[in-house]
Each structure stands twice: as C-alpha cells, then as structure tokens.
C-alpha cells in the first residue's frame, strides 16, 4: 500500500490522461483516505470508514470563510450608519430573516442562524463550480495530490450530511414540541382518520398501519429528496463543465455561457435548500397537521 502511494507521489506533475473517459472519471473521483491494517491508505479505499479529504477540506475552508466574513461584520456591527461591507452583510441577514419570518411560524432561535449558515455555506460550496474545472486539480497534481474534487456539493456525502442533520433536527423538534405521543399521532392518524366506534374498530389497526407506512415513507423521503435535489443539480452542472473542458478551444465561449447560467443554479439551489430546511422545521413546530 505504501509502495503504491509512493508511486503515485512520484507521478506528481502536469496531469496526463489517456482518454476522455479517463479524464472524466478522474475528475469525478474524490481524494480518499482510510485506515487499513493500522496504516493510512490513500485512494484505494472502499466501505464506510473512508473520508473524502477534498470534500471535507473545501467544505470546512468555505465554512470558515463564511464565519470569518460574517464574524468580521458582527464584531464591527454598529447600530448607526453602517459601512458598505456591513450593509452588504446586513442585506443578506435581512433576506434570510425575511425568508424565515415568511416560512416559519413558530418561535425558535436556532432556525434563523441555521438558515443563514446553510444558505451562505451552500452558496459558497456551489460557487466552487464556477472555478474552471482543471485549475485547482492541476495545481494539486503539481503538488502530488492525485485526485481533487473542488465542489463539495457534488459529493453526495456532503449534501446528505446537511440534509440528515436537518432531518434529525426536525425529529428532535417534533418530539420536543409535540411530545412522543403527539408525533406518533401525527404519523398514524393521517391522512385517513381511523374510526373510533362500532364495527369500524376492527379496521382501525389496518388503517393505522397504512397511515404509518405512508407517513413514514413521506418522512424518510424528505432528507433524501432534500439532498438529492442539491446534489443532482450540482453534479450535473459539474459534469457539463467537465464535458465542456474536453472540446478544445471552443470550451471558452461554452464555458462562459454555461457559467453564466450556472450562477443562477448556484444561488437558486442554495436558496431552495434553505427554504426546504425552513419548511421542514416549520412542520416540526406546527401543532396541527
């Protein structure tokens, strides 16, 4: 294993590809690390105990960039006349606050900061897509890093990491606000109300089971669709950037056109992701179904 890593390190330099297929495959491969028999293994991993180093690296760096930018504004925030930077940050804060107030009827101090973090973080991660696809990977290759995917949101682990966190928060608040009984009622007494008297009582268990399956599937489908929507959009966009990078000199206008269109996708998908987060958490706080 160490031998292979050394071999790959020895290939450090300008990347060379045998075919278009290899080029695409190489660009869709994460830089992975795992432990095998007490040793660190790079890029020959399988199974759950693997870490996508590039996704984690860029996600954390961009998250820190977000915290740094907004933290700077927060530290210097004045109630008087704001500077241009503070005004810009406040514009975003106000936008997110407005979205939360529109979409969230309950009272919870977590929702607004959560929405802001998700929105800006996802925007930043999506924006990595606008950097020409070979710049960072080629630079990495020169330094001996053989694989690099620079857009964290094209990694399904990242989008699922976000959506599952939101899902767990939803479950937590559902249990906290409605109580276990209330939550269970919500899952079993909808959409068909089971009969409570007469012969219908015999059918009630079946109706409850039916409701539970239906609502359970709907519940589980939420984080899946939540993350797959973002992942699918960004992955497809990234793939098209890679394909455009294969067509030679004509990639310049094509890349520009697709990038302009992609700016829309970048912000829109981040906004959709934030809005869905708000809507799901609002559902967790709503006492009536």
């Amino acid at each position: 294993m160490e031998h292979e890593a050394a071999e790959e390190a020895a290939h450090a330099g300008w990347p060379h590809y045998e075919s278009a297929g290899e080029y695409i495959e190489h660009h869709l491969q994460n830089l992975q690390v795992c432990r095998d028999h007490g040793e660190w293994v790079w890029n020959h991993c399988s199974g759950f105990m693997t870490l996508n180093v590039d996704s984690m690296f860029f996600a954390v760096v961009l998250g820190v960039v977000f915290l740094w930018l907004f933290g700077r504004a927060a530290k210097r925030a004045t109630t008087g006349q704001p500077g241009k930077f503070q005004a810009f940050i406040e514009l975003i804060i106000d936008f997110v606050d407005g979205s939360v107030k529109d979409g969230f009827s309950g009272k919870n101090k977590v929702i607004a900061p959560l929405s802001l973090t998700i929105f800006i973080w996802v925007v930043l991660m999506n924006t990595m897509d606008l950097i020409p696809v070979d710049w960072l990977p080629a630079a990495g290759s020169m330094m001996g890093i053989s694989y690099m995917k620079v857009v964290p949101t094209t990694d399904i682990n990242v989008t699922f990491g976000l959506s599952i966190s939101v899902f767990l928060l939803t479950i937590y608040y559902s249990l906290k606000i409605k109580g276990p009984i209330g939550f269970l009622k919500e899952l079993t007494l909808n959409p068909i109300a089971p009969p409570t008297k007469g012969l219908g009582l015999l059918a009630a268990p079946f109706i409850i089971a039916f409701n539970f399956i239906l609502e359970g599937v709907a519940l589980i489908a939420r984080p899946v669709s939540h993350s797959l929507r973002l992942f699918g959009n960004m992955f497809a966009g990234e793939l098209i950037f890679i394909l455009i990078a294969l067509v030679g000199i004509w990639q310049l206008p094509l890349h520009f056109a697709w990038a302009v269109f992609h700016i829309l996708v970048v912000t829109l998908q981040a906004f959709v992701f934030m809005m869905l987060t708000i809507v799901y958490l609002n559902g967790a706080h709503a006492t009536e179904h």
Binding site: M49, L51, G71, A73, A74, T79, E90, D94, F160
Partner: protein, 156 residues
C-alpha cells in the same frame, strides 16, 4: 458515490458552524439591524412630532401677531381720540383765553375812557372856570362860588 465517513464529518462541521453562527454572528447583526430600524422609526416619529409642533407654533404665532395687531390698532385709536381731545381742549382754552384778553382789553378801554372823560370834564370845568374867571374877572370869587362851579362841572 458511496456513503462514507464524510457524511458524519460534514454533519459535525455543520453543527459546529451553525452553533458558532448562532452564538457569535446572528445575535449582534440582527440586534444592530433591529436597533437601527427602531432608531429610524423613532427618528421619523420625532420628525413628524417636530412637524406638528412647528405648525402648532406657527398657528400660535399667527394668533399672537393678530392679537398684537388688534391691540396696537386699539392703542392707536385711543391715542388718536386722546390727541383729538387734547387739541379740542387746547382750542377751547385758547378761545377762552382770547375772550379773557378781549374782555380785559374792553374793561381797560372802558376804564381809560371814563378816566379820560373825567379828566376831560375836570379840564373843561377848569377851562370853564378859567373862562368864567376871565369873563367875570374879579367879581367872582372862586372860593365863594366853589360849590356852584363844582355842581356845574358835574353836570357836564
């Protein structure tokens, strides 16, 4: 495309970021925004109040000016009346004084006239006596006929 540890790593990163945002970023910024909103609303309300009190003050000023104008007009009227009164009084006094002067003059003239007449009478009497003396010469004793001559003189 397999699920792996990145999923958990990403979730942990997200929790940390959200916590940090909730603790250190969101509160000061939203506070600043809401405080400023409140300040602006207060400022607008104060401006409105100022506008109102300005128009109040304006109407008060108008009222005071009108009052003062009325009072001034009253004072001027009163002064005019008074001035006319004074002029009338002075004129009446003047007329009376002239009358007094004229009366005094008349009296003086009368006095002078009667005095002159008396003198003239006395002189005439004297002349008459002198004439008579000359006519009568020594035959008439002035002192013996004094009462006669005086009677004559008073009849002139």
């Amino acid at each position: 495309m397999d699920f792996n540890l990145t999923l958990i790593g990403q979730s942990i990163a997200m929790i940390v970021f959200v916590w940090f945002c909730m603790k250190f970023i969101w509160p000061p910024l939203i506070d600043a925004i809401e405080t400023r909103q409140k300040e602006i609303a207060d400022g607008l309300a104060a401006a409105e109040r100022g506008q109102n009190s300005l128009s109040d003050a304006q109407s008060q000023v108008d009222r005071i000016v009108a009052e003062a104008r009325d009072r001034a007009r009253g004072i001027v009227d009163q002064a005019n009346t008074r001035a006319n009164g004074i002029v009338e009084e002075a004129r009446a006094e003047g007329v009376a004084a002239r009358q007094r002067e004229v009366d005094a003059g008349h009296a003086q003239i009368e006095l002078d006239k009667s005095r002159a007449r008396d003198e003239l009478r006395n002189q005439v009497a004297a002349i008459a006596v002198a004439g008579a003396e000359r006519v009568l010469a020594r035959e008439i004793d002035a002192s013996a006929h004094r009462d006669l001559l005086d009677q004559l003189a008073s009849e002139l």
